[in-house]
Subunit: 335 residues, 3 copies
């Protein structure tokens, strides 16, 4: 990518992303920092929705099954691609890995994220506590949660109180899955920003996912399901922040060591905080998570730890790009 | 009203509302935009509370059982009335319909809101999915929620797992009610703003109601109740925004078609998001909802989709009034 | 303290606090208002975490078992100490009571807070509804919650459905405790600010505690526990604000009457709102609570009721100190 980046006209950089997930936040931030902005929609209806916003210069309709052409068009436009969960879901991790357009962050990580077992191994490598993973249902001796492979926003996940219930439900399942120990505690998602410009890992925010139907009022009358439909703001007990920061740093180091590339831009660790205040991380995301949308516009509580004024994650990304461009460091951000 | 509005001195406009619900947000926004502000309290104690705030120029104590006199006094003061749920509750929808003072939004809608069946019919007319409504308890074949007529903040609502439980509880009930299918999923309330000035429907924010005791920790030891005592901030999965925006637009069109007047200012659709990500709307409000209070002062995450800086709903209303006054369009806002 | 304060160089004031709880908010606010800032960490690891932030001028490592020396060093630095829950926990209330350094607020209140029965008595004195307190397990005739003495963030608390369950669990307990009636409703924490400068009590914000595991998804598979790990933003039904403000005022008066000193700076009432909208206060804190962290940086919704722009609690404290210093009123803030 550094060859492509070298040919970019730094005065005419565009920021592009797929029209979903965190696109509004990303593109608004980019526009605020003076970049041209491009949204790529998966169909005309969605394109229409995004066209109404003043901060989006162009809305394209893209063919995600063959993303190469779109990638080339982005390069022709001096565009930097900000990947997010919907991008990976739409184009698939293999295309995302190879798309010939400068893409924020460590792309190689996508290979690890595609396999729940490799994900867990990377967290372990980082020295971060993870839930017990059962290789076989016969090992199960307590409550478990079953998760399907791939970022599907929780669709198809289920809990079982024990082995018997699990085995009964597994019979109907045709997809790849992982069985994790079910942890009692509260969910908490930590948003980090890895900054090559400032050489630091920032704890930027936190959220709770809002999942249907488990976060509704079911009175035990319906089977719990875990489909993410929104996010809720959260601040953490301050005495937890040093360990949360430490896990973020350890994760970045483990990625460098094992995956072989440096994290840049937003990433996320997804945890349960148990009632002994220990943190167990059951998932990560190597890029921006939708939970950052909670502070769009007015900025995250933790952003002021690093900057004079509150900033949201879209602005944070744009800020980093602008500073990296000035300092000739764009190749440390984009792969 | 356009006769009254014509006689108003546009340089001395006042913004008035009832001292409750969202009055602080409305009047603070109005003051920020340079309007005189009037709060009308239902008694002296409440008046005292509102008098402490610098952005409220006058606090009146009003006789809500006979609102005409207050309305006339408001007109004498060049005042524009911003209605909200407590206003409708205090003066009653019949008085609100006829009060001789310019009132934000489509007043005729009050007639529809007074009847839960007409409300549901209007949503259906808009092509928005609604829960099944049971005309008689004998039709009930699953979990239901029973709601009383009128905006009572959820008081008296109850759930029943099935027909038998419902019938037992109905015996003690002396008020008008509606029986709705009980939906499994998570509650989500969408705040819209219908702007005659910009000719658009804005998705402005979202919240979750905080209801006592159902959102507390009852461990199944107490019967669930649904009294709204506060609101919690929410952002939605971005892929849901196009459909949420679409429902907002469809609702505005249905109001124009069936009720015969144009929506102007804030309104709200109140929904359950199911675990297949479909949205079912079980209520609406034709005016500002208390959920907008969550972003008072610092502004809503979605406000920056339409404006340079975050804005709260009070500021949004004041902005619209100022621009409409400049453009000679106040009669498109007030009826 | 007024002797010490008289010797302070008002142009070189420092604001100091213990590196935990709400230190980031407090010190960031102080720096924004031009004060020098000092964080005192309980060990080197924590000190390292706080050293990364630009708004903290000095990070010390303190010996909390013997706080006098640190207090004297603070005085030598012209420092004003902002106490919070972790400070009281680390140094103990007896040391906090006597530390020879100007400390924000009414220190004598610490003596009352150390004893759950005295706490309840003070609330009663203020005319604020409190839960029934059982002097003996044999009196118990319904659901109860058992709380340990001292601010432990909810550790060790438990609920019991009735007397029998309670008595069984009490056998294993070796600490001081209080048995309170278990209230059905929703938790709500009110943040107040007592301002000697403006001679008023401000309702500044509200939050909900995020407690592990009770706020997680346990499906009844685990015993509920109540360890605070974070906080969630909340706004209240506006019609509740006058009574919430009134309770805040009554509490301040009761402190003056019974404890003999005037509240200054942040304090908190901690309540359940029942489904008849009545408020029952089960706890208070005489100083800043961690729930104020939810609006760090972007400011609380209620702050704009008193000031032109949103403010967080750290900024609010710094603002008060600056104005008090100008007006020669620091001795009304610090004891």
């Amino acid at each position: 990518m550094s060859q492509i980046l070298k040919r970019y006209d730094l005065d005419k950089l565009a920021v592009a992303t797929i029209a979903s997930h965190t696109a509004l936040q990303i593109l608004r931030g980019a526009k605020k920092y003076g970049f041209r902005t491009i949204a790529i929609a998966k169909n005309e209806d969605i394109a229409q929705f995004y066209k109404q916003f003043f901060f989006i210069d162009e809305v394209w309709t893209g063919d995600f099954s063959n993303f190469r052409k779109t990638a080339e068009r982005l390069v022709a436009e001096n565009a930097l691609l900000i990947p997010h969960g919907s991008y990976v879901e739409y184009v698939g991790w293999r295309q995302a890995l190879e798309a010939p357009v400068p893409t924020l962050g460590c792309r190689e990580l996508l290979r690890w994220e595609a396999d729940q077992y490799k994900k867990m191994a990377l967290l372990e490598e980082a020295g971060i506590p993870i839930p017990r993973v059962y290789r076989s249902p016969t090992e199960v001796d307590g409550p478990v949660i079953l998760k399907l492979f791939g970022a599907k926003g929780g669709r198809g996940y289920f809990v079982a109180k024990g082995r018997e219930e699990l085995e009964a439900r597994l019979k109907a399942l045709g997809e790849e899955y992982i069985i994790q120990e079910y942890l009692f505690g509260v969910p908490a998602y930590y948003h980090y920003f890895a900054s090559p410009v400032y050489s630091r890992i920032e704890v930027f925010g936190a959220d709770i996912r809002y999942e249907s139907n488990v976060d509704g009022r079911t009175f035990g009358w319906a089977e719990p399901t875990f489909v993410v439909v929104g996010n809720l703001p959260l601040v953490l007990r301050e005495s937890l922040l040093p360990i949360i920061h430490k896990y973020g740093v350890q994760f970045a180091k483990a990625v460098e060591r094992r995956v072989g590339c440096r994290l840049a831009g937003p990433y996320c660790l997804e945890s349960i905080i148990k009632d002994d205040m220990s943190i167990v991380v059951f998932e990560f995301s190597g890029r921006i998570v939708a939970g950052t949308n909670i502070y769009m516009g007015y900025g995250s509580p933790y952003s002021v730890l690093y900057f004079d004024k509150p900033m949201d994650m879209g602005e944070r990304i744009a800020h980093e790009i602008r500073e990296a461009a000035k300092a000739g460091k764009l190749d440390q951000l984009f792969t």
